[in-house]
Subunit: 498 residues, 2 copies
Amino acid sequence: MSQTQATDQLEVRFRRLAAINGAADILNWDAATMLPKKSGDVRGEQLAALSEVTHELLTNPALRDLLQQAHSETLEPWRTANLREMQHRYDHANALPQQLVAAITRQRITSEHSWREARRTANYKSFLPEFKKMLQLTREEAAAKSTALNLSAYDAMLDGFDPGMRRTVIDPIFATLKTWLPDFVNQVIEHQKKKPALPLNATVPEAQQKTLGLAMMQRLGFDMSQGRIDSSTHPFCGGVPGDVRITTRYNPEKFVNSLYGVMHETGHALYEQGLPTEWRGLPVGHARGMSVHESQSLFVEMQLGRSAPFLRFLAPQLAQHFCVSGPAWSPENLQRALTKVSRSFIRVDADEVTYPLHVILRYELEQALLTDDLKAEDLPGAWAENMQHHLGVTPPDDAQGCLQDIHWPEGMLGYFPTYTLGAMLAAQLMASVRKAIPDLDAQLERGEFTNIIQWLNKHLHAQASLYPTPELITKATDEPLNPVHYEAHLKARYLGQA
Amino acid sequence: MSQTQATDQLEVRFRRLAAINGAADILNWDAATMLPKKSGDVRGEQLAALSEVTHELLTNPALRDLLQQAHSETLEPWRTANLREMQHRYDHANALPQQLVAAITRQRITSEHSWREARRTANYKSFLPEFKKMLQLTREEAAAKSTALNLSAYDAMLDGFDPGMRRTVIDPIFATLKTWLPDFVNQVIEHQKKKPALPLNATVPEAQQKTLGLAMMQRLGFDMSQGRIDSSTHPFCGGVPGDVRITTRYNPEKFVNSLYGVMHETGHALYEQGLPTEWRGLPVGHARGMSVHESQSLFVEMQLGRSAPFLRFLAPQLAQHFCVSGPAWSPENLQRALTKVSRSFIRVDADEVTYPLHVILRYELEQALLTDDLKAEDLPGAWAENMQHHLGVTPPDDAQGCLQDIHWPEGMLGYFPTYTLGAMLAAQLMASVRKAIPDLDAQLERGEFTNIIQWLNKHLHAQASLYPTPELITKATDEPLNPVHYEAHLKARYLGQA
């Protein structure tokens, strides 16, 4: 009899779970890219059935016994890490009574549907009844996880998206940001007034945008033999490792959105494609939490994609593929246009500098929503007030205010901070890459990404979930998450301060 | 407590089963249309996991008890029919030990892979080892089903594809066919020599083929809001009711293949789209067996699509969409070209007249393979001999002989007869439609399909699996399956005999 019998059995069960989750991932991709417009109900039934199956697999009583036995087995380090990750999934799944899971799944569909209509008509009141139900269920979820995982309610939610992340890490980081970033925004806006960017006016047919996007993702190292690119309303990276599917959207008047959408999602995709194949299907082989994932997309989109040397590479590409010419298309003006800072209402359209303020606003409000210190009824007022406070603007309606994001309508509280933590980690990684590759800028200017991506692969992608996030970051960059790199990055890029 | 408690519970379980099978159906569609070329293994794992789940659901011991209880509950007729169909699925699934199911699933992948390579290189010997393993497992499957279902081995296999179909029904039909069809083929070929068809030479870009194909499927009644059309190597109708996905293939030199591929698959699709929504997810709401399904595709492709009045409608459509003109494009020559009969090697390319001979050959050989009266080693010889006997031609190699079809390499013995039974039923349905719609030809000549499809919907599609196949046919056409309609159809169309 094997010395690791329980672990062996667990691994079989978790590989099966991964295969079923993978099936659901492809069906979700299909729902966003291929699904006929009246086939949503049918798809809903399929996804609900799969999620019932996976929940049953994760709450099967045999699993607890196997986990207990496995903890006393002698395992290689990667299997010990895998056991930790299996336990983490088991703990999260078993924290919730099945009835609550089913209620959340059902309410999520109703709530999202109501939210879409409310956003379209900028009518928060029409969304309020469903939102209150969703919030109530989310509070129950947080309470149940809090008890089971021995974490605060908010940390318990956060831990679902970014294992190991805690308010005690985020609070000081965001507190520091708030001390300097609002004033920094003012400085940058004033600074940019001195040399305003010429607008990048060009009408580029979809076919040409596709060609350049495809060339760029392949140049970055995306493996088309194990992945695809398609169009969807909102760009995303979906599918599974071994079949990674990114999307973008094409608007002839806005090629920047499509190109940088492709670069962002390619950052996510390279992470997924770079996960070790020998651990595929096991929790240890899964991407680390959402902060690390977002660091990879922002690394490509922001750290590489809007850097001066890359834009010197991009300028002739645009001239060649899009037949554009003139002073607006010089590398210098491209950089001015692509790093223009402004106070705006919509998070997903926000620039790199103001983005964290959008996140901090949500971070504060979602904690208050979770504790009921902020009533759903009072959200629009609180939103407007905080926008004015943090960003100095007030949205003209709720569609451009508290109705803009899908996260809360889906009960995803605790997700938002990962965007800014990811941006910070991307800056920290860039500092390490710069040390490791002395001629980084020269490589970027030639459009050569191989060494850079290899570095990321070695230090992050190939490590998958072998280490908890803090350890992974320290191993990769020789220090814990340190926001000083982010601050330095912004000051260098936006005020030219070395 | 409800009087139908066991039935209620069974229906919940079978709806869930249908949702998971539906997920697999979409993943199979994706594998044929979207899957990156090196993502096959990942997809294989997903499909294997889903099939394990559904097999477990169907072999859950609780199901037997529920079925037993349900049989003593008082049910409305449709629920009684549903219980019959649930029992049928249970019986088939539980006939096989789980180990055999797993072995078949694994061997099918290996065998198909080996077959593809063998067909490409026309090297039967290279396929023989895997084929023998597949055949052995298929024999075990047939033996296990034979015992469990109290049917002969071949009938037990047949019953999996076409519930209720038996050799005792097929044997006399095929025996009669053999008495007149080979000579009829000779007569038709001689007859057609008198007025040979002008070839339909036209190079039609994919985009124009797509436009006409789309127009045709919508005209036939395909609901694009609950379905799609895409390209794949082999045309098929996939997806699920509520999300029906057909495919075709485009070759600029062969627009006929694409157009008639679309019509064939639209026939299948109309059946799926026309199934009653209130029974969706229940076995009673499922399409009746493969013979009936094939009758629907052949009805559209052959009975409607190659009829003289439809071709009078089609001729100006081709002129308009494909910019073709001249004597080859007259309705009369279209008919000559589209009903040209010839002795050929490949079943899927065969015309309506010789097709049944391809099927009879397979029907006879697969029975001999199943009983081991024919050894796998001797298949190429037996194939060549039978081709010469039935069709008067000998394939130049095995790729154009016994290696041409995927069915046997996948262990699907008992499937082939449904093609010809479907062709016969299509002719019988056409005779009934002609009685019900006196001005049928006038409607076809105007490209009006509404009344025809409504008739099919009422008498077949909307009945789903409420009745066993023989009863369904009798209710729709006032008589059991009767090959005389098929014979009359062929004589009328090919020799002009009323």
